[in-house]
Symmetry: C2
Subunit: 532 residues, 2 copies
Amino acid sequence: MATTSADQIFKEFREHSAAQFFKKNRQMLGYSGQGRSLVTIVHEFCTNSLDAAEEAGILPDIDITIKRIDNGTGISRYSIRVGDNGPGVPKSFVGKALGTIFAGTKFHRYMQQRGQQGIGAAGCVLFAQITTGKPIFIKSSTGKGAAYSCRLGINAATNKPVITEMRDLDEDFRGLVIEGEYADIRYEAGEHSAYEYIRRTALSNPHAQIKLTDPGGQESLFVRSVKELPRKASVAKPHPAGLSANDILEFAHASQSRKISTFMIDTFARTTQNKISELKAVDGTIDVDKDPKQMTWEDAEKLIGAIHKVRWIAPDASSVIPIGEAQIKVALKNILDPEHMSVTERRPAVFRGGIPFVVEAAVSYGGNSGRKVEGGYAGNVLRFANRVPLLFDTASCAISKAANDIEWRRYNIDMDTQPVSVFVNVSSVYVPYSGVGKEAIAQEDEIIDEIKLAIMEAARGVQHYVRGKEQVAFNINRYKAIARYVKQLSGDISDLTKADRARIEKRLESIVSKRFPKSEEREREKGQEEER
Amino acid sequence: MATTSADQIFKEFREHSAAQFFKKNRQMLGYSGQGRSLVTIVHEFCTNSLDAAEEAGILPDIDITIKRIDNGTGISRYSIRVGDNGPGVPKSFVGKALGTIFAGTKFHRYMQQRGQQGIGAAGCVLFAQITTGKPIFIKSSTGKGAAYSCRLGINAATNKPVITEMRDLDEDFRGLVIEGEYADIRYEAGEHSAYEYIRRTALSNPHAQIKLTDPGGQESLFVRSVKELPRKASVAKPHPAGLSANDILEFAHASQSRKISTFMIDTFARTTQNKISELKAVDGTIDVDKDPKQMTWEDAEKLIGAIHKVRWIAPDASSVIPIGEAQIKVALKNILDPEHMSVTERRPAVFRGGIPFVVEAAVSYGGNSGRKVEGGYAGNVLRFANRVPLLFDTASCAISKAANDIEWRRYNIDMDTQPVSVFVNVSSVYVPYSGVGKEAIAQEDEIIDEIKLAIMEAARGVQHYVRGKEQVAFNINRYKAIARYVKQLSGDISDLTKADRARIEKRLESIVSKRFPKSEEREREKGQEEER
């Protein structure tokens, strides 16, 4: 057997960049399937616009135009333009912000925002480049009354931006416009369309105004239904109960404090001088006067051990910004216009020991709730994380899992036949997404449990309404079905037993009407009405 | 309203490394849940060992030992040691190979291997460091009769390896041993256990010998059942029909050829001088004498346009290495020992225009097929990609989708009650995984269709056996159920009609026994046997 040595094999050793990796595995960023790829682009830029406007304290106005381009090659292309009224991107950062994977203002800050990774926008630039070879066009205000425009590509081998045609503009403009040309995407209708994505974005962001112009020239305007901005996101301190030894060490080594005690009080939530004393009381070998820069893994583990033996106040949830019951109601009314709805906001909960999160849920019935299917309606689940609609990877999401686990019958709800929408928004400084494309929330038990409780609370709120609504229809249908069966059965029994058919039928009918007295009456009344 | 300027916001701008990204989002690499995290570690090192042994032309021997460590803190830890008899890692590459994310021998080579990303092993090192602060221990032969050992960590901020305690060893050793200490993992039993992972690895790699020692000291040896190595993977040339303009451009700009014509013939599969002439005939403006380094996007697009108008021979599938029908049979016999099985290997197919892949499927009945559930058995689906078992993310996998779409009744199979295993292996130079953790194959239509056809073929092969087996039991059960109903019904009819109960019962019985003549006899015989 001819063997090959390690040296020969390792001649092929190479390092590659994050951009190369995602270029080869673009499906991991959401670029799988032409319909989904288009939604991914709209999603990334829309998300960035909303984050930027809110951070700058501006009520967001977003304008999206999707056009089909026929360049004669037979391969269809689209141009997607997303414009906002946000603060723009400073000229010196535009390359890194939009043309470098793993770079941004959000990754390292412990703060609730839609984006958190520094991948999305650069991924779109990469995708434009792979599919059409064209850099994207950018026009931005710089915050000093000035503006510029440029074209931006990405060097996949080095994960560095390539900026061309940089021009200062002499015009009164505020905001950011990004326009790119893409192939291998398609504008589609339905549950997984850009239109649906925008509709759901409007639902979870009633303070935003969004206009979509589709490739057919059709304009859809989702008007702002509330005039207040969400509470501004603040940088949170991590809660001790959620820390690992590794976390403590990294914070300690980066600290400017001279003692572990002051370092901990400054850096972590709910950590006071009293708590430091408690930790020392639990483990006398902990040296809180040590220089945090000198902290060892063993020191950190000892601290973690003590932290887990002390009682802590739950993390401050002020860093978590839910949409709010009143705002959800306004948005649902505005967009779904249901006959009846019920909204719940759960109290803040905690996962992985120290990461606070809040679940909001709503169940709505009638109006534009649910989705139309052949012969009627079916229920649907509208999933959101930090107000961002999640349209794909349904099966692997904590929200889907929770919704599937609900015994809907207990609430008189039939998700297969009724016009019901279940709205769930999970808000947190850190949402544990299951993949880089951020289309599903990882199925962590603590999160699933909270979502279930929220949905159940909301479902209880519509239960009576739905029961009233459905009972009548249900009983009439059941009565009808059984009444049909009576005729058939009487005939069969009569054939078998030679007993009188009419007599059997009468007996059976009287049994049935004892069980469904009202239905029978209503049915007769209905019949009479129809006869009139 | 107080607004914040872009300059203020961008003060927070940072770049971060791939290691930092995956440290924060470890669930994306498969580190979500303690049970799954342990399997991920075993999986990464096992996969590397199998790839390395095969590339070196060595029949793999892998020895895995998982121990529980009690270090007195109450937080349980495990040590996981994976040893192999492969070529080892040259000293100069060990840091990059095991301590740098996005580096390796596999990413850029168009060649079928289990690993393809250069993330897995470095991810394990990172995980050990995050959870226990400890570098991993490595012992390796260097291919020159020498060996060394060292400890290896990873600097997350820079994504660079940290090597300590490097020692040359004076011993006769061949292979690679990696031993690490991990917390926040747990050894579990069941469908998603390390044992099941190894059992399935043995099933798809009958040429490997694998020993697992679990934390209880229990040894499981999966013996080698075939003595030949799989055909050696070769570097394939990309097929023109699967290329994008961007691909052609990148290849062209890296080419040493002086003309586009020779560049294409050298670089792409199925591309001959005749094909070049055909391309020119389709589009006269294509200049195949141009320097490939000067190729523009427009040139590349023109080429793609012409490529799609010309007929190509399907890609050479010799780069795809399926397990093989005979080997699958040996492995199934060895590990599942079924009463009956049927194995199919489909002919090579192509997805995304030019990437060849091969699907193999087997359906086995009885023995250790399926899984035990309360009160009997249920079917299971054993998913593999390039011989690697996929245990998680079931719902989002192309194999699960295909298996769910099968109308099992048509093959007399009931996946809810029968001891049936469905084995599917997808082999390709490039498997489109849905996530970085590589636990599911993206649901591309062309792949799903091939898997369905393979499963259906295999199912047809067991259909007759299962029918014979199940028909008897089924008819007897049905006969029994209906016979019970006869008694009840005769009583009710008699009550209603006052007709003679015995007479009604006799009439009904005669109707039933006309439909189930054999079952009735068998049931009587059985009754008599029991009475004896």
